[in-house]
Amino acid sequence: MSTYVAESQLASSREGWELDLATAWARTPDGIVENPEFFTGFLDRPDVFAAGLLAVADVASTRYVDTSPIVIRDPVVTGSGDRLRFESFSGCNGVYARFDLLSGGLGGNRASFGTTNVDVSPPLRMAMAGISRAEPLHLSVGHDELVASTFDETHVERKVALPDRWVRGFAEVPLTTELMRPVGTLVGPQIGQLMASLPRVAAPGPDLYVRPYRPRWLVARTPTPGAVHLAGATRLRGCERVLRLATKLDVYGADNGASAWVFELPSARLTLVLSPEPFRGFSGEGSLLTFLAHPEAERLGMELLDEIGWESTIDPGEMAVRTGRSDAEISSGLAWLAASGRLGYDLTDRSWFHRELPIDPAKVLRRNPRLADAQKLLASGGVSPDGASWRVRGSSEPYYTVSEDLTCTCRWEERHHGTRGPCKHILAVLLHREGAADEASPSSLSSTPSPDQ
C-alpha cells in the first residue's frame, strides 16, 4: 500500500477554494515519483464526467451476488495523454467498469501519464450527482487525489490500497475482451428500450440471451442463435447513471459467456464487462497460463514494455515496424503484458492501452491460491517427468498425468476443460518446466519497482 506524506487540505479564500494536495507515490513514465500531476483543467461536459465517474463508483460499491456489506474500493485512474480512464471492479469482482474521458471532453487540456486510484465517498458522490452541464467543473487529478470542484465547493478524496483481486481482474479482463466479437449496436432510444425490457430484480438477476433485432432487440431465457449471453442481467444496471446520455451501445460477446457493453457518451465511453457466470468473478485464473507458460513471451513483453510508453492506443503493426519484430512476437509480448496487468484493452479502438498499476502485479498474481498450491506440490517433490508427460501427485488419486500439451487427468480439469485456467497440477508442471523448483518464488519473475518495495 502506498502512503501519503501529508493530508490534503481544502481552504477557501477571497479568490475561491485553495487546495493543498497531498502527495504520494505513483507510477509514471519516469518511474516511481512523488507529486505527479495527471490532469488539471475545466471539462467540456461536466455532467458526462460526473455520471461516468459515478457509474464506475457505483460498480465499485456494489456486490452483485448477495447483499452482504463490502469494503468500498476506489476506482483506478490512468492518465494517457489524450484521455483519462477510470476503472473499477464490483465487490464480487464479476463486473468490470471503465469510464474513458476522451480528448474531446478534456477542454483542450492534456492529461499526464500515470496511474493512481481515487476515492469517491458519499459527500463527493452527492456533489457529483448534482453537477450539471451548465455548471463549469474544474477537475484536478494530481498527486494521489481526485479533486472535483465547482465554483461553489470542492471535495478532496484520499487514495487507498488496491486489492489483490482487482489486480487479478485487471490481468484477466483485457485477455477476455480481446477475444470478444461484436454482436450488435443500438442507437438512441433503442438503448433505453433494451434496458427497460430487462427484468428489474435483485442481483445478480437471471441469465439472459439478447438477440440483436430491429426495431428492438429480443431477450430470451434460453440460449438462442446469434444472441449474446447476458449472465446475471441485473449486473448491467451499473450503466444506469449514464443511460440518459448514451448515444450508442456496442455489445460484444466472448465464447466463454462473458460480455462487454460499451456505451458511447459525448466525448466519453463507459464499458461494462460481465463475467461468464454471475457467481464467478474475474479471478485472473485464465491469465495465469499465459503468465507462466510462455517464458519467451515474458522476455518479449519486458522488452516491449519500454516501447509502449503509456500510449493510449498501441498499434502492434507500427510497433513491429519500429522494433523490427514479427507480428507474432509482438502479439505474444503484448498478451503477456496484459496478463501481467500492464495493459488494458479498448474494444472500441480494438487496441491495447498502457496502464501501470502502482503496485507490482507479478507479486499479486504469484499470490494466487492455485499457484500457491502448485508451488507446494513442486516443493514437496510432487512432480516427476514420465516420458513426454508428467506425473503429479493427486489428492483423490495417487497421481494425475499432465500431458505434453498441458492437459491434466484430474477431475477439475475434466469438469472445466481449461475454461477456468490451468489446474494446480498443470501449474506445477509449468513451474517444474521453468526450472523454478528450487526457487518457487516471485523473484524469478520480472517485476518493476513499486512503491511498496
Partner: protein, 1030 residues
C-alpha cells in the same frame, strides 16, 4: 506458590460470580495488573476452552444457566479492565448479551466503562458501535446517559426508538434521544430505515417542531439516494422527502434528479418525475428526462410525461423538443401506449416520427436444435418441472423452470417434429379452460420457443391459445403480453390468417391494451399499419368460421378395452432373461393396474404380474421337461443381484433343498434382517450361498430363521410362501391356479376349473385361496359344476403338523355359491378394521389389515394385487393419490370410493399434461356414475370442459353428449358463485354442429329465453341457436 490471575478468575467465571470478579479486577495493581493484562491479551481462547460441564454447579438448571450468562459479563469486565478501548470493544462477547436477560454483571460493566476517562470511553463506544449483537445499542445508550459523548457512528448502535413494536409517539421518543439530531442521521446512514415506515411522518413532526432542520435533512436524504440503498429504504427516504414537502428549488438540479431516478426503485421515480419536469427548461433537459423515463419499465412514468408534454412542459421547451420526446415515447412496444402517443402527436399537429424499420431473421425456416440430456439445464429448486406448473398462475412463478422446459420441448420438436407440440399445447389449453394461465410467463416462453427454432411448429398453437383467450368477455391480465409477443414475430410468419377471436377483438369498439395489441398483430400479419388494418377489419367484420363437420357422433359405447384386456403371456424365450433381471422385482411398477403416462419412469419397468407369470412358466417347464431339467436350467442362470419373493422361492426350489419342513420353518419362524445386519456384499449369486440358508436347513425347527429384507413386506412374503408351496407340489400337480388371466389381476371361473383339471395330484392351499380371491364373479349356480373329492390340498403343506387337507373343489363351490368376496366388501371396507372373514378357512384379507395399518404410499396398490376385486381398498388409505398412480386398470365395477376419488381427480384445479384422463372418464360415464349435479356443486364445471373434450375427441361424443348437457344445465343453477360454466358452454357450442338431434332441453331453452342480457345468457342463446340449425 503464587496463584495466577487466571487461577483466581476461573472459579469466579464458572460460578458466574460477577461481583467477585469485579472485586478481583479492582484489586489488581502493579505487577499483578501487568501480568493480568499480558495474560488476557494472549488468552483469546481461554474462555472458549472451559468445558461446558464446568458451569454445572448443581442440579438447578436455571441457576446453572444464570451462572453461564454472568460469565459473559465477567469476560466483558476483564476486557474493559485489562485492555485498551478498541481491544475491549472487540473482546466483549456482545453476541452473548441477550435482550431478555438482566444480569448483575450488566450494571457492573457499565460502571466499569464509565469509570474510565472520557477519551477512553469515547473510543470504546465508537469501536463498540462497529460490532454486532442485540444489546450493543442498549449498553451504549446506558453509557451515553452517564458520559457526555458524540453519537456513535457504527451500525451496531441502535437508538432506543428503533424497536418493535414501533413506539406510539415515535416523534416524541426521537426528540427525547440524548444523541439527537445526530442519532437520526446516523440511523438513516445505516440503511435500516426501510424497517421503520412510520419514520417519514415522525420526521415531518420533528421538522415542524424545529427538532430537525428541514434543509439539512433534505440534503442528507438526497445524498443517501445517490448511494446504494435497499428498495425498502429508498421508499422510506423518498417518503421523508414527500413529508417534508420538497420543492424543485430544494433539489440540486435536474441532473441530480435524473441520476437518482435512473438508479432507484420505481416509487422514487414516481415521486421525483413531477419535480424533474418542473426543472426542465431546455430541449436538452427534456431529451435527458425522456431518455431516463424511456429506460424504465414503469408505464406510469411514461404516461405522466406524455400528459405533461401536452401542456405546460411543451410550452416551456417548444414544439421541436416536445416532438422529439414524443417520438421517443412512440417507439414503445405497447401498442396501446404507442397509439396514444401517436394520437397526441397528431393532435398537437407535430410531424409523425418515421416508421420503425423491421428486420427479417428467417425464423420460420429455423429448425430447433436437439440438446443431449446431459447438457440440458436442470431445475434446481423444489417442484415438478412441467408446463402445467410453469404456466399455472396458482403456482409460484418459477422463471428458471422456463429454460428447462423450453430446452426439452425444442429437443422434442427436433426429435419428433410436430408431434411434440402436444407437450406444450395440451397442458396450456387445459389451464386456459380453467382461466389459470399466467399470461406473462406464457408470453416469455413462447418468445423463447420462437427464437430458438420453434416458430414454424408452434405458431398455430400459440395463435390458437391467444384466439381462445380473445373470445373471453374479459381476457386475462397480461393477455396483451401474449399478443405483443405474437406481433413481434408476425413479420417472420408467412401465413397472414388471423383467427376469428382475435380479429373480432381487433374490430370491436374500444381502446383497451388487448384491443390495441390485437390490431397491431393483425396489422403485422397483413403487412400494413394498425389504422389501415382496423379500418379494414371493421369494414369486413370477421365471422366465426363454421367448424368443419367431422362426423364425431357415434352413439356407441366408449371403448372399454383397457379394462378387459387379457394379460399377454411372457415370450417363451425371455424366461432366462427375465429371471436373471431381478431388478424388475425391486421396485415393480403397477402397470397395467395404473395406466402410467408416456415417459413415466415406472412405465419402463416390467408389469406387476411378471413374477406371477415367471412362476407359472417355471411350473409349465416342470410339466413339460420334468423337475430335474427345470432345476438345472434355473441353476445355470447367472445372477448378481438380490432376488426377491417369487424368485427366491424359485431359486430355493431349484437348489433341491426345499422341503415341506423347511417351508414351515420359513413360514413360521422367518424373520427379516435388514441390510446393515447382513454381510456386505451380500452373496446372492446362488440361493445356496445365502447365509441364512444353511442355518435354516441345519438349525432346530423352533429357532428363528433369518430372511433377507426383500421379503419383509407382507405381500412379498405371501408371494414367497405361495411360490414355495406351488413348487413343492409341482412334481405332482404341475399347475399354478392363481396366475391372473386378465390385466386387472383376475381370472374367470372357467379358467380356474380348467387349471384344476390339469392337477392330477395335490394342490397348494395358498394357491387355491389366492385363485379364489382373484376369481371374477359368476352365477352362483355354476358352483354345482365343480366336482367334489377330486382335488385335495397337500396335507404336508396345509398345516405344520400335517394330516389335514382341504377339498379344493368344495372351497371353490363355497366361494362361488356365496358370490365370493364381493359380497363381503362392505365389511372389508371399514377402514383399518378389515374383516378377516371369508367363506373359506384361510383368508388373504388379513394381509390387507396388516398393510392398511402401515398405510404408506402404494400400499393400496399392493393389496390390489391380492384382492383385485376390491379396488375400493386402494382409495381410503391413499389420500391425495397422485394421478399417475390412480388404478384406472382396476377391476370394474368400482366401488363408491373409487368413484369419488375419480371425480376428485377430474376436479383438480390443474390438469396434468402427462396423464391420460380418458380411462377415468369413460367408465364413469358408461356406468352412469358421473353425477352432473356434483360437478356444479363442487364448482368444477370449467375444469370439466377439457375432460369432456377428450372424451368427445376419443369417439365418445354420442355417448357422452347427454351427460355433458346435464352438466351444463346443472351449472346454470346458482350452486356456487365460484363455478364458471362459460368454458363448458363454449365446449358444447364448438361441438353442437356435430350433434344430429335437434332436440333442445327445455331447461336450456328456458334459460335462453330469460330476459337477462349478460354474457352467459348470450352464450346459451348461441348454443340454442347452434342446436336449432336446419
Amino acid at each position: 506458590m503464587t496463584v495466577s490471575f487466571a487461577d483466581l478468575l476461573y472459579p469466579l467465571v464458572t460460578t458466574g460470580d460477577a461481583v467477585g470478579a469485579w472485586d478481583l479486577l479492582a484489586g489488581l495493581e502493579g505487577k499483578e495488573l501487568t501480568e493480568a493484562r499480558a495474560w488476557f491479551a494472549k488468552a483469546t481462547r481461554w474462555y472458549g476452552m472451559i468445558p461446558e460441564g464446568a458451569f454445572r454447579q448443581g442440579s438447578d438448571s436455571t441457576a446453572n444457566h444464570d451462572a453461564w450468562s454472568e460469565s459473559h459479563r465477567i469476560m466483558a469486565l476483564c476486557a474493559v479492565e485489562l485492555s485498551g478501548p478498541a481491544t475491549a470493544a472487540k473482546r466483549v462477547p456482545w453476541d452473548m448479551y441477550w435482550w431478555h436477560q438482566k444480569c448483575v454483571g450488566d450494571e457492573l460493566f457499565v460502571d466499569a466503562v464509565c469509570a474510565k476517562d472520557p477519551a477512553w470511553v469515547a473510543d470504546f463506544v465508537e469501536a463498540a458501535s462497529q460490532r454486532t449483537g442485540d444489546t450493543v445499542g442498549r449498553v451504549l445508550r446506558n453509557i451515553g446517559e452517564r458520559v457526555p459523548l458524540p453519537c456513535p457512528a457504527g451500525r451496531g448502535y441502535t437508538p432506543a426508538w428503533q424497536r418493535y413494536p414501533v413506539p406510539e409517539d415515535l416523534a416524541g421518543e426521537i426528540a427525547a434521544d440524548a444523541w439527537m439530531p445526530e442519532a437520526l442521521y446516523r440511523f438513516l446512514d445505516n440503511g435500516e430505515c426501510g424497517k421503520l415506515p412510520e419514520l417519514p411522518e415522525a420526521i415531518r413532526v420533528l421538522a415542524d417542531r424545529g427538532v430537525v432542520e428541514r434543509a439539512r435533512m433534505i440534503m442528507h436524504i438526497l445524498g443517501l439516494l445517490t448511494s446504494p440503498q435497499r428498495p425498502a429504504s429508498q421508499q422510506v427516504l423518498v417518503r421523508i422527502l414527500e413529508a417534508l414537502d420538497v420543492r424543485p428549488e430544494d433539489l440540486p438540479g435536474l441532473d441530480y434528479v435524473l441520476s437518482v431516478m435512473a438508479t432507484s426503485v420505481g416509487v422514487v421515480g414516481k415521486y421525483l418525475l413531477p419535480l424533474a419536469m418542473q426543472l426542465v427548461t431546455t430541449a436538452d433537459d427534456l431529451t435527458q428526462l425522456t431518455s431516463t423515463v424511456a429506460g424504465r419499465q414503469e408505464k406510469g412514468l411514461k404516461q405522466t410525461l406524455l400528459k405533461a408534454l401536452q401542456g405546460n412542459l411543451r410550452s416551456r421547451v417548444g414544439d421541436e423538443a416536445a416532438g422529439a420526446a414524443l417520438a421517443v415515447l412512440s417507439t414503445d412496444e405497447d401498442a396501446s401506449f404507442a397509439a396514444t402517443v401517436a394520437a397526441v402527436i397528431s393532435k398537437l399537429g407535430l410531424s409523425a416520427p418515421p416508421a420503425q424499420e423491421q428486420q427479417f431473421l428467417g425464423l420460420w425456416a429455423l429448425e430447433p436444435t436437439w440438446v443431449p440430456e446431459s447438457e440440458r439445464p436442470v431445475f434446481k429448486r423444489w417442484g415438478r418441472v412441467r408446463w402445467s406448473a410453469l404456466l399455472n398462475k396458482q403456482e409460484t412463478d418459477e422463471p428458471t423452470m422456463q429454460c428447462v422446459l423450453v430446452t426439452e420441448l425444442l429437443s422434442s420438436l427436433a426429435e419428433r417434429g410436430a408431434d411434440a407440440v402436444a407437450e406444450f399445447r395440451d397442458p396450456t389449453l387445459a389451464l386456459l379452460s380453467l382461466h389459470s394461465v399466467r399470461m406473462s410467463r406464457l408470453a416469455e416462453a413462447v418468445s423463447d420457443l420462437f427464437l430458438a427454432g420453434g416458430l414454424r411448429y408452434l405458431w398455430a398453437t400459440a395463435l390458437d391459445i391467444a384466439d381462445r383467450e380473445a373470445r373471453e368477455a374479459v381476457p386475462a391480465a397480461g393477455f396483451a403480453d401474449v399478443l405483443r409477443t405474437l406481433t413481434r414475430f408476425a413479420p417472420e410468419v408467412p401465413c397472414p390468417e388471423l383467427p376469428y377471436g382475435i380479429a373480432a377483438l381487433a374490430a370491436s369498439k374500444g381502446t383497451t391494451t388487448a384491443q390495441m395489441q390485437a390490431r397491431a398483430l393483425g396489422a403485422a400479419l397483413a403487412r400494413t399499419d394498425a389504422d389501415a388494418f382496423t379500418e379494414s377489419v371493421r369494414a369486413n367484420p370477421p365471422r366465426p368460421q363454421p367448424k368443419p363437420y367431422r362426423g364425431l357422433w357415434h352413439p356407441t359405447e366408449p371403448d372399454l378395452a383397457i379394462r378387459d384386456a387379457k394379460l399377454a403371456p411372457i415370450p417363451a424365450d425371455s424366461y432366462v432373461e427375465l429371471l436373471s433381471l431381478q431388478q424388475l422385482f425391486h421396485s415393480p411398477s403397477h402397470y397395467p393396474l395404473c395406466v402410467y403416462p408416456p415417459n413415466y419412469p415406472k412405465a419402463k419397468e416390467g408389469n406387476v404380474w411378471l413374477a406371477e407369470q415367471l412362476l407359472s412358466e417355471t411350473v409349465r417347464m416342470v410339466r413339460e421337461d420334468g423337475v430335474a431339467k427345470t432345476r438345472a436350467k434355473i441353476v445355470d442362470i447367472e445372477r448378481t443381484l438380490g432376488p426377491v419373493g417369487t424368485v427366491i422361492a424359485i431359486d430355493l426350489w431349484a437348489s433341491g433343498q426345499l422341503t415341506p419342513e423347511l417351508f414351515w420353518r420359513l413360514t413360521m419362524n422367518g424373520r427379516t434382517y435388514f441390510n446393515h445386519h447382513l454381510p456386505t456384499p451380500f452373496p446372492w449369486g446362488r440361493v445356496g450361498d445365502c447365509p441364512w440358508f444353511d442355518r435354516a436347513v441345519r438349525q432346530e425347527p423352533t429357532e428363528q430363521v433369518a430372511l433377507p429384507p426383500w421379503v419383509d413386506e407382507v405381500t412379498t412374503r405371501l408371494e414367497f410362501f405361495r411360490a414355495m408351496e406351488t413348487l413343492l407340489v409341482a412334481d405332482r400337480s404341475p399347475v399354478v391356479l392363481s396366475t391372473p388371466v386378465y390385466a386387472d389381476g383376475t381370472l374367470d371361473f372357467d379358467d380356474l376349473l380348467a387349471r384344476l383339471e390339469q392337477a392330477p395330484g395335490p394342490v397348494a392351499l395358498l394357491d387355491v385361496i389366492q385363485a379364489l380371491y382373484r376369481l371374477r364373479r359368476c352365477a352362483p349356480s355354476r358352483a354345482e359344476e365343480v366336482p367334489l373329492d377330486r382335488w385335495w390340498t397337500d396335507p404336508a403343506l396345509t398345516t405344520p403338523e400335517g394330516g389335514i387337507a382341504h377339498d379344493a373343489g368344495r372351497l371353490l363351490r363355497t366361494w362361488v355359491s356365496a358370490n365370493g368376496m364381493p359380497k363381503r366388501l362392505p365389511a372389508v371396507l371399514k377402514l383399518h378394521n378389515v374383516s378377516a372373514s371369508a367363506p373359506v378357512p384361510w383368508s388373504i384379507s388379513v394381509i390387507a389389515k396388516s398393510m392398511l395399518a402401515r398405510g404408506h404410499e402404494g400400499t393400496g396398490l399392493d393389496i390390489l394385487k391380492f384382492m383385485p376385486l376390491a379396488p375400493d381398498l386402494v382409495v381410503p388409505i391413499t389420500p391425495g393419490l397422485e394421478p399417475e398412480r390412480f388404478p384406472v386398470g382396476a377391476h370394474w365395477p368400482w366401488g363408491p370410493r373409487m368413484h369419488d376419488a375419480a371425480m376428485d381427480l377430474l376436479a383438480q384445479p390443474a390438469f396434468d399434461e402427462e396423464i391420460d384422463w380418458l380411462p377415468i372418464m369413460l367408465p364413469l360415464i358408461q356406468a352412469e356414475r358421473f353425477d352432473p349435479s356434483l360437478v356444479a356443486r363442487r364448482g368444477i364445471t370449467a375444469g370439466m370442459a377439457y375432460a369432456f373434450e377428450r372424451v368427445f375427441e376419443a369417439g365418445g361424443l354420442g355417448g357422452a353428449w347427454p351427460l355433458a348437457m346435464a352438466v351444463a344445465l346443472s351449472s346454470l343453477k346458482p350452486y356456487s358463485t365460484a363455478d364458471r360454466p362459460s368454458p363448458f358452454i363454449d365446449l358444447l357450442l364448438s361441438y353442437a354442429h356435430e350433434v344430429p338431434d335437434h332436440q333442445i332441453p327445455e331447461a336450456l331453452q328456458a334459460f335462453a329465453d330469460l330476459p337477462v342480457d349478460d354474457s352467459l345468457h348470450t352464450q346459451v342463446r348461441r348454443l340454442v341457436a347452434a342446436l336449432e340449425r336446419p
